[in-house]
């Protein structure tokens, strides 16, 4: 019994040996598209500089901005990855919460791919096809003056050239920046091929947004979570499904997955870099400059991110599937980081 009490006392007091300390590592949240790149850079950063590894969560650009803008200080993330720009509304939240010094860095380009398993025939889609397959409401094919609930359940019903396969698409949820980009680059472009919606866009932009961006909710479009690897897994085992995610996930799984061509262009480095592939967009890092004086290694991490061996034309990020940005923009990035380091 005495031993027991002694043991208890030892256990309880041993915990107080670990006094609470302030966070020492970099905390990163945000886009699931940028996540693998951020993790890879984090690994090189840790190995070469000996700093603590950053803690990287894949939350989606939207949730990332939300947490990033909740305040400055160590309770909040230092960097958020984004696959879209920060909206003015989010910037306002940031400012209201005292996050005043935000640095935006464009780190690369990416194409949103619509991938399928190799078991499915290759899809060659136009933006209009995608809009017709995924929007909740579409113009009535018989009376193009009104919107009806989406009647299509198979790709062939939309376009007879497409395979006779059920429509079943895993896509990003609204918390994701990929969703925003997909909305504006694909869905809205596809919608404006119809005169009714073109007219609507001019006269009533809000209603147009509703019509173009609302995804169907009958189970053909599925808001998958913020982990694109899961979508890849699901596609591997389900030959009929399509998935929407960043180019790097396609590149990592080329032996199992294939991409659909959009408007005749397949997603590859060249088509994405020069913008021929319609769904290409830029990737960003948003850095809280204030936090660089609280967390060691923040500038060093960014330096690693934009270094030639990472983001250069033959860098390890590019091998992973990031499309490099032009030299001019790369130089701009290194100036930003230099100004941070000198401070």
């Amino acid at each position: 019994m005495k031993n027991f009490i002694l043991f208890l006392a030892l256990l309880v007091s041993a915990t107080s040996c670990f006094a609470q300390s302030q966070r020492r590592n970099i905390s990163i949240v945000g886009s699931s598209t940028v996540y693998p790149f951020a993790a890879l850079v984090g690994e090189y950063f840790t190995r070469t500089t000996g700093n603590l590894s950053p803690h990287i969560e894949s939350t989606g650009s939207g949730s990332g901005f939300k947490r990033f803008c909740a305040g400055s200080g160590l309770q909040y993330p230092d960097i958020t990855n984004a696959s879209r720009l920060m909206t003015s509304e989010e910037r306002a939240t940031c400012l209201a919460n005292g996050v005043t010094q935000i640095i935006r860095m464009k780190i690369g380009r990416d194409g949103i791919v619509l991938a399928t398993s190799r078991a499915m025939p290759k899809l060659n889609l136009t933006l209009q096809d995608i809009y017709l397959a995924l929007a909740m409401q579409i113009p009535d094919p018989e009376k193009p003056q009104r919107l009806i609930a989406n009647p299509y359940s198979r790709w062939q019903q939309i376009n007879s050239a497409l395979p006779n396969v059920a429509i079943h698409v895993y896509g990003p949820p609204p918390t994701s920046g990929t969703r925003d980009a997909f909305d504006s680059l694909v869905m809205e472009k596809g919608a404006t091929t119809f005169p009714l919606l073109r007219k609507m866009k001019k006269e009533n932009p809000a209603a147009f947004k509703q019509a173009a961006n609302r995804m169907r909710e009958d189970g053909r479009w599925i808001d998958a979570g913020e982990n694109d690897s899961i979508i890849v897994q699901k596609l591997k085992t389900n030959p009929n499904a399509c998935g929407i995610f960043g180019f790097s996930f396609l590149k990592q799984n080329e032996e199992n997955l294939q991409a659909a061509a959009l408007n005749g262009y397949f997603p590859d480095s060249a088509n994405i870099a020069d913008g021929k592939y319609p769904a290409s967009r830029s990737l960003f890092l948003y850095v809280k400059k204030q936090n660089s004086s609280m967390v060691s290694g923040l500038p060093a991490y960014l330096k690693e991110f934009i270094s030639q061996r990472a983001s250069g034309n033959r860098g390890y990020l590019v091998r992973r599937g990031m499309i490099p940005i032009p030299d001019r923009e790369q130089r701009r990035n290194s100036e930003i980081v230099k100004s941070m380091q000198s401070k």
Partner: protein
């Protein structure tokens, strides 16, 4: 209807039917037992089989020249170790000039090769200027090819390795420069984005730190509560309600504790996310009920006569408990604690909510460092679509099961001891 002849020696049809039922029933029982054991057994055999390749790693033997010109910088970490690897590769496979081809050649090695060199030079700078033949890790694709998991016959544009790389691989193989080594990295390294460099030690350490917090919180508090409720608390409505509540809490799905942890510990008390501290606190909330219930059962199982005898000889209530009841019940209490901890060790549903689904690339040093735990690492790897990760996942499962088997053996041992010391209790 003709009446059957009755005899005690030859069973009647009805009796035969009854015997048949009896045999069928036994058969069903046997089948069920075999089915349930064999399904789970098969799952483990399958996982074990999948895991085997993860315990070895293909390495390529390279002649590394640690030339002094490469270490011009004061800081050894800044030297270009990739270049050393590239030069070594160029020595064994000469004549590669095209940049694309060079990239392919480098793609046969893991980035870990350069980090290995960095480590080696860092630990012994005298290496600079020497030449060594070193086994360095190959890339995941080469590793998979070596392990027979990559099909050479798939068309080139879908294959992970180019024609050139296959040719070089065959050349190296013929020279005996590719060999599978025991994968030490897997047991000593933290997580990595490259399958061939990913290890479980970071997660295991995270799990151990988490379990430490859970133990420190839940064992004293749980056992103390059990003793108080069982031996001291007045027998009234309130005590009964508390008992019933605790029993009910034992059945609450673990994920709910994650919600609680998020709402209270992280959002209210601002404790750091994804740390063993918070994870341990949440898991100890989850283990309280089972520890309390097991401890109370153990206390109640000690025959009252022991207590009565002590009281009759003049011991106080506290003395009879601390000197007689508690020592007898201790194995039971420890068993309950161990089982509760084992459950907490394998649980990761509540941790999904606490920011532990994250990349952590180093080994946590303390309870306030961001960390992940073993089951969470398994979850993260299971979802990772990269080459070689399914094998790593299976291997991590094997390691986790080993831990659990050890804990369960300890429990068994304690129970046997318990049964022997108190043969009169059932």
């Amino acid at each position: 209807m003709e009446r059957e002849k009755m005899s005690l020696l030859t069973p009647s049809t009805a009796l035969r039917r009854r015997y048949l039922h009896d045999r069928l029933f036994l058969l069903a029982g046997r089948l069920a037992a075999i089915a349930s054991f064999s399904t789970i057994g098969l799952i483990f055999l399958a996982i074990l089989y999948t895991s085997l390749p993860a315990f070895t790693q293909s390495c390529i033997k390279l002649p590394i020249h640690f030339e002094e010109t490469a270490f011009s910088d004061e800081n050894l970490a800044l030297a270009d170790y990739d270049m050393l690897v590239a030069q070594a590769l160029a020595r064994i496979i000469p004549g590669v000039t095209d940049p694309g081809e060079k990239e392919d050649l480098m793609g046969m090695m893991s980035p870990g090769a350069a980090w290995r060199l960095q480590q080696m030079v860092g630990s012994n700078p005298k290496r600079i200027g020497t030449v060594e033949q070193l086994w360095l890790p190959a890339s995941a694709d080469i590793d998979m090819l070596r392990k027979g998991k990559l099909d050479r016959t798939t068309p080139e544009q879908r294959r992970r390795l180019s024609k050139r790389q296959l040719k070089w691989y065959d050349q190296l193989n013929a020279e005996g420069r590719i060999k599978r080594h025991f994968n030490r990295v897997f047991f000593t390294a933290p997580n990595s984005t490259e399958a061939e460099l990913a290890g479980i030690y970071g997660a295991v350490k995270g799990s151990l730190l988490t379990m430490f917090i859970t133990l420190v919180l839940s064992f004293p508090l749980g056992a103390g509560t059990a003793i108080y409720l069982q031996e001291f608390a007045p027998r009234n409505r309130l005590t009964t309600t508390i008992t019933v509540t605790i029993n009910n809490l034992a059945a609450v799905p673990p994920i709910l504790y994650g919600l609680l942890g998020l709402a209270v510990f992280i959002n209210f008390f601002h404790l750091p996310r994804a740390t063993p501290l918070v994870a341990g606190m949440v898991l100890s909330l989850m283990t309280f009920p089972s520890i309390i219930m097991a401890s109370r059962n153990a206390l109640a199982a000690v025959p009252r006569s022991v207590c009565d005898a002590a009281l009759a000889l003049g011991a106080s209530r506290m003395q009879s408990i601390t000197h007689h009841i508690l020592p007898a019940a201790m194995p039971g209490i420890l068993t309950g604690t161990l089982l509760g901890l084992a459950q907490a060790f394998g649980e990761c549903a509540p941790l999904l909510m606490l920011g532990m689904v994250a990349f952590v690339g180093n080994i946590p040093a303390g309870i306030t460092d961001p960390a992940t735990v073993l089951p969470m690492q398994i979850y993260l790897w299971a979802d990772n679509s990269g080459q070689g990760f399914p094998e790593k996942t299976a291997a991590a499962i094997v390691i986790m099961m080993l831990f659990l088997v050890i804990v369960n053996t300890m429990v068994l041992w304690l129970r046997r001891k318990f049964e022997n010391s108190h043969p009169h209790t059932s």
